[in-house]
């Protein structure tokens, strides 16, 4: 059995057994095989879906190669975001500096692809070799007439969360470049929604049916111009709290726009998101329409979920995701399917997040901050989970120990948000948990014979 590393003992918590506060927000322990990525990753995932911007990664080739077409973020128009651009720094630039190459790369790529803006992601070595990325960006911006924005995302300068902050700062610099598009008075920004498998379109449709206008979406299917008008929204509706709360706070301070936190996963949270927005506007028509939408959607959805719930009831699930706000929704969505969450964790949860997770889970549930394959597999086995919800890195952990898996990360191609997403989620979980292949799994057989599960 895997022992918990001593540096990590406070990052592991069993409800009903342990009394400590969960330690979080700290750098991963060296040698622990964290599932986290780095600052660059945080920035890259937030800005990635902006489809008419050039995303140039300044550094050696790896960071660009590993993030080429990495997300399932869809665009209704241009798809410049799906290409991978790198300054591909070589030894020569490491010695003599990469500014010249950065300038040449920006200039040629802007001329070739005509983006509406360019983001320049600084990777680990950019500061160390002395490049003044800000100065090059300013120069190219002057010459090209488009915003050219440095993103200070050097991998080692913090955690993924610091990458979110760097991305938020980059986005903030675009806000206020107004394109003058007319907006309805009841108007919001959707934040922390990345249009994976078209999810932003599902959510936008609900808001439109409510009579709420969208100024901008950060950043699913978004364009540079819409980000520019975001300051005219009346409310920021923030999902994926980890990535966008910082930007929401900055916008509140500068533009006085209040924000609320929502989640679009599961019936309960999806409905609450719509109601919270409706209540904010205090417009009886909007509220009435919202009630109608929720009633219609839920009435249509519940009977469709029933066959899945019947099969899945009593099964156990483990969750390991990036941000814990998503974990809350998943705990609730699984409950709706009759499934209990026995292990739940996140890469970047905060104190507040973990307190809430403690509240909504049952006794015996293990909560993990910044875990690793050995811990995760241990608790998944110990607690007898039938399903793991996570990303690609977690998938083989589940499969190797004979349990089902649901991809809830940025690479997925299946819409899981909204009411229709809930149905997809049920189908997805069902298709994995109920597959007959598990009967051949030796880990399953051992569990059935009363082994450790």
């Amino acid at each position: 059995m895997t022992d918990i590393l001593k540096e990590r003992t406070k990052q592991v918590f069993e409800k009903g057994k342990d009394g400590h506060d969960i330690e979080c927000g700290k750098a991963s322990t060296a040698g622990s095989v964290s599932q986290r990525a780095c600052v660059f990753c945080g920035s890259r995932v937030v800005l990635y879906p902006i489809a008419d911007a050039l995303h140039l990664i300044h550094g050696p080739i790896g960071c660009a190669a590993y993030t080429w077409d990495i997300r399932g973020s869809m665009s209704s128009g241009p798809e410049l975001h799906r290409l991978s651009f790198s300054t591909d720094l070589r030894e020569n630039e490491v010695i003599y500096g990469g500014e010249k190459k950065l300038y040449a790369a920006l200039t040629e790529l802007i001329a070739k692809y005509h983006p509406e803006a360019a983001f320049v992601y600084c990777t680990c070595i950019v500061g160390l070799i002395g490049d003044d990325v800000g100065a090059i960006c300013a120069k190219v911006a002057r010459e090209s007439g488009i915003p050219v924005i440095p993103v200070h995302s050097e991998g080692f300068k913090g955690t993924k969360k610091d990458g979110y902050r760097a991305a938020s700062e980059a986005l903030f610099s675009l806000i206020g470049r107004d394109d003058g598009k007319e907006l309805a008075p009841d108007c919001i920004n959707i934040m922390g929604e990345f249009n994976l498998a078209g999810e932003t379109w599902i959510i936008k449709d609900y808001y439109k049916r409510m009579g709420v206008d969208i100024a901008a979406c950060f950043t699913g299917d978004s364009r540079v111009a819409e980000i520019g008008r975001a300051h005219r929204a009346k409310l920021n509706v923030v999902q994926c709290s980890g990535s966008m709360t910082y930007l929401a706070k900055m916008m509140k301070e500068k533009y006085g726009i209040p924000f609320i936190r929502v989640s679009y996963f599961g019936i309960e949270d999806m409905s609450k998101a719509l109601y919270d927005v409706a209540e904010f506007f205090k417009n009886p028509d909007i509220l009435k329409r919202t009630q109608q939408i929720v009633a219609d959607e839920v009435t249509a959805l519940l009977p469709k979920l029933e066959p899945y719930r019947k099969d899945l009831a009593g099964r156990k699930a483990a969750i390991y995701v990036g941000g814990s706000f998503k974990a809350y929704s998943l705990v609730k969505a699984l409950r709706l399917l009759g499934m209990e969450t026995v292990v739940v964790g996140s890469q970047t949860g905060s104190d507040e997040d973990y307190k809430y997770l403690k509240e909504i889970t049952e006794d015996g549930t293990v909560i993990l901050d910044d875990t690793n394959p050995l811990e995760l597999s241990r608790f998944v086995l110990e607690k007898g989970a039938d399903l793991l919800i996570g990303g690609v890195k977690e998938r083989p952990i589940a499969y190797k120990i004979g349990i089902g898996f649901c991809d809830h990360n940025h690479e997925r191609k299946l819409a899981l948000a909204g009411f229709e997403g809930m149905l997809n989620f049920a189908k997805e979980v069902h298709s994995s948990v109920m597959s007959p292949v598990w009967k051949y799994s030796p880990a399953r057989r051992k569990a059935a014979e009363g082994g450790l599960r």
């Binding site: 895997t2 022992d3 590393l5 750098a27 322990t29 060296a30 040698g31 622990s32 095989v33 964290s34 599932q35 986290r36 990525a37 600052v39 990753c41 050696p60 080739i61 790896g62 190669a65 080429w68 290409l83 790198s86 300054t87 591909d88 720094l89 070589r90 030894e91 630039e93 490491v94 190459k101 040449a104 790369a105 040629e108 790529l109 070739k112 990777t123 680990c124 070595i125 160390l128 991998g155 080692f156 300068k157 913090g158 955690t159 690793n372 394959p373 050995l374 086995l381 690609v392 890195k393 083989p396 952990i397 499969y399 190797k400 120990i401 799994s441 030796p442 880990a443 051992k446 450790l452």
Partner: protein, 458 residues
Amino acid sequence: MSDEKKQYVSTRNACKLCSPLGACFAMRGIEGCIPLIHGSQGCATYIRRYGISHFREPIDIASSNFVEATAIFGGRDNLYTALDNVTRQYTPTAIGVTSTCLSETIGENVPMYLHSYLKERGEGKCGVAGQAPPVFYASTPSYRGTHMDGFHEAIVSAVKALADPALKRGGERINLISGFVSAEDIRELHRLLALYGKEYTLLPDYSETLDGGTWEDYQKLPAGGTPIEAIRRMGEAAGTIYLGKAVPEDNAGSYLEKTCGVPAAFTDLPIGIEKTDEFFRLLTELTGYPLPAVCEKERNRLIDAYIDGHKYCSGKKAILYGEEDFVAAMASFLDEIGVVPILAATGAANDKFASRVGENLRNTKAKVTVRDDTDFSSVLEMAEAEKADFVIGNSKGYYLARNLGIPMVRCGFPIHDRIGGHRILHLGYRGALNLFERICNALMEASQNAAPSGWTYI
């Protein structure tokens, strides 16, 4: 043939990966070995994710996890902690440390760190009681070369650290350095070597570690891999066959030659008849045994298949890309079945690449464009002017196939959009048969789908 340099300063949709990736996969091919990347957390995570999407297996890679202070004050303490923690958690039989662009740029002296770590560990000042796994180091700055440089570097660093330098050539053992091939290819190499009945060291060997069966309990480090003992004995072999020619000067083959007098032969990956014949000639030289009868049969069956299918691919034009060694060997194979690799590309920078590919094209008289130091966007732009019939290479080339509206034959690394990519057989006569059939079938499927009549006999 053209050797024009690329038009763009930037790299657009890279046709290469960074050096630590190759090092990590080579290290995972050593029994009980865990890679440890000295740098930011993201490097380990991205490389794991990239590999998991191909192999669909857990690929645990540790990181020394730099933070801002580490980059300023140096990573010695982080490396110590990481080595201790990874020893405690994984009980490895070896730890392979790689550098990154970050640790190289700040001038980390990792060999010195490791020297003092091992010394202190021997004195009980660090490490884990009862455990003393060997630690070896591959310098893999991501700004130099590609993932293939990291791959070869990891192998030579493992050999330098683990092979007994006091041994001398003499025995009948065979050393085979496999190149960056699929898990299925490595299993095929095992099968072929076993036919000769001699002891051998096949390095690296991730045929089980990155393509194992299902488990009863979670395995910290999956079984399989080149045994440490087999690496220790490499110096007493009769010779080393090194699959690949785009190999750094300081490599495992020449090291063993210099240190232990074991001669090294560098040969193309055995893809296609010609290159597989070359491979078997080297095995015959080393062992004194002729081509095994079963391989003779396989060779003959392959020729029979070539003849049966030749019209489906004769004169067809392919866009070929990937690592230098992969492209060079594939070009030879395509040429021998009558396919013209009109565009052969690699992301690695090497002036000799064009002439090397050219030498492998013995039949075609058509114009062939060979590019080194290029990327997928440049390949697409060049390909738009050509009328290629299919693209062949790793799954990143789907970008080409989709844009050009032509079929694609997936092989090489990575395959991220199909399952079983790591089980594609490329090597030997059976590998050639597999590739040949895939190519013919892809072309037949395309023409069948395009035909208004949709014939059911082709």
